[in-house]
């Protein structure tokens, strides 16, 4: 796709884009610098010495050092990060699948679709804390033990489902059905049409839904607050840590997750390039 914007204006747009990205990443620059804070320093400037002790603390949870603060929070962040990632992956898959199915139904319209739509939206409309409270009371009544995966998952999916649904609805709005119509006319069943025509076309929407679902679940803490059980997800552990002591360990964690994210995104882009090149070669 050739870009048509006037040549004079183009650098301005690029500069603006750069500005937005800079604003989004400014905290990370600061975070990265402060993650090398000296052992006696706090989590604001100035830097009192340079050290990698906070990274060490990430990988050695619960261990003390001569500089260890008496009240320091020595939780295992990496374990809770793992839990959060697992939960987020499962959430995004379930949420996208369910929302995709529902969006197909909404396309055709059905009796009571208005009511059902608002029911789905309730997931993001009802304030998070109260969902947590209401659900924890019900789990108690049913004598369900609280566990981050079994009682945490429904809540995360409930939070991301409406987002996924809206993404798909937005995608189907003014959707060009000519390809689908052609397939049906040529004799394919609805299922085959869906599988081989609609689904590939929906790739961007599916990707968006997956990304949103993953991102939202990773950082969800209001709804999870009272129903996660003993092993906490990352946002809850960060919250526990922030209310105890804020140490640069959090910055080390943030820097690490960002670097990890870059690696994942980078790998994806490399794969994308490779598959593009492959498909070009095949043509």
């Amino acid at each position: 796709m050739a870009s048509v914007a006037r040549p004079l204006v183009r650098p301005l747009y690029l500069a603006y884009l750069g500005f937005i990205l800079a604003v989004l990443y400014f905290p990370f620059v600061v975070m990265a610098i402060l993650s090398f804070q000296g052992p006696r320093g706090g989590h604001t400037f100035p830097l009192r010495g340079v050290s990698t002790i906070w990274y060490w603390k990430l990988f050695n949870p619960g261990k003390l050092t001569p500089y260890s603060d008496v009240g320091e929070f020595l939780g295992d962040y990496l374990a809770s990060l793992q839990r959060s990632v697992v939960l987020a992956v499962i959430t995004m898959l379930i949420s996208t699948a369910l929302a995709l199915m529902a969006a197909q139904a909404f396309r055709k319209g059905f009796k009571g679709s208005g009511l059902v739509f608002y029911l789905w939206l309730l997931g993001i409309i009802v304030p998070g804390i109260t969902v947590s409270l209401g659900l924890s009371l019900w789990f108690r009544r049913m004598d369900l033990p609280l566990h981050w995966l079994t009682t945490g998952l429904p809540v995360h999916v409930m939070w991301t489902l409406p987002f996924s649904l809206i993404v798909f609805l937005m995608f189907f709005n003014r959707f060009d059905t000519s390809l689908e119509d052609a397939a049906l006319i040529l004799g394919a069943t609805r299922w085959k049409t869906f599988r081989y025509v609609t689904l590939p076309l929906m790739q961007p929407a599916i990707l968006t839904s997956l990304l949103f679902g993953f991102t939202l679940s990773l950082d969800e803490f209001q709804r999870s607050l009272l129903i996660t059980g003993t092993d906490q997800t990352l946002p809850l552990m960060v919250m526990a840590s922030v209310t105890t002591r804020i140490t640069p360990t959090l910055y080390a964690l943030g820097t690490l997750t960002t670097l990890l994210s870059f690696a994942v995104v980078g790998a994806y882009l490399v794969l994308l390039t490779y598959s593009l090149r492959k498909s070009r070669r095949l043509q």
Binding site: L14, F45, I125, I129, T130, L133, R190
Partner: protein, 308 residues
Amino acid sequence: MLEPIAKAPAVEVSTTLVVRRRVAFLDRHPGVASWLLVLPGTLWMMLFVGIPLASIVLFSFWRSGFAGLVPDYNVENYAALLGGRTFWRITLWTYEVVIMALAGVIVLAYPAAYAIWRVVRDDRWKTAVLLLCIVPFWTSYLTRTITWLPMFGREGVVNRVLLALGVIGEPLEILLYTPYSMMWGLWSLYIVFMIGPLYHSMTKIDEDVMSAAAMLGATPVRTFFHIVLPLTRPGLMAGSLFVMVLGLGEFFTERVIGGAQNPMLAGLILRQIDIFQWASASAIAVTLTVLTLVTVSAMLRLFDLRKV
């Protein structure tokens, strides 16, 4: 396993008779098929949202005992809430904040989405930029918020740089713990939810339309208001819904970056739970739910996302 479809017959050849019949049945009754599709998700929502919601509606009519709820039906919680001036003041402020947040995000996101759509050339770069926008959100929001103090505090980076350059004489206090700083925090938090949908909608705009407009001599402003804006309505509506709903449920930024001196509605709920007033917390939650529902339906009336 499936044989390729023969060109002429409309009926699937390779599956067993039973499945064929089932599929044919669904083909003839699309309504049933739709219900089946929507059922799992709906059940999930009913179970995990419907039940808590019903519970808190119930609780909002009870009384808060010292250590729990007393099923003593009354409307006092609502009377006390809606009769007090503070509630209305907080509600008004909450809506002000959300509307300003939405307006700001729209203004900030459009050029960015446009830039990714038209100015960035390669497909890979587009993907890269979009992913770059989302990566910051994979680090806990709490962690990002606490970096505000070393960034914007009195002794923070920004102030130090500005002081060193001589641009200001005294550290700027406005950067932290003010409504302005809170707004800035909200914008940077919500912008990704607008850029994504907007970009999506933009990609569906036919190139030829844009070329035609350019050839016919439309100014960029005209192109924007008469072509881009109308054609990106689905994305705009989706993004606005997201921002609106997230904003009405917002309470953390207000406390950490806003200095807690300008409370929003959702924070009231937590404060009531703090002192075991579950009944009035439920009343606030129900009121907030109703307000959000009204807002969302009003927005959908402007543009119904479900229209195909």
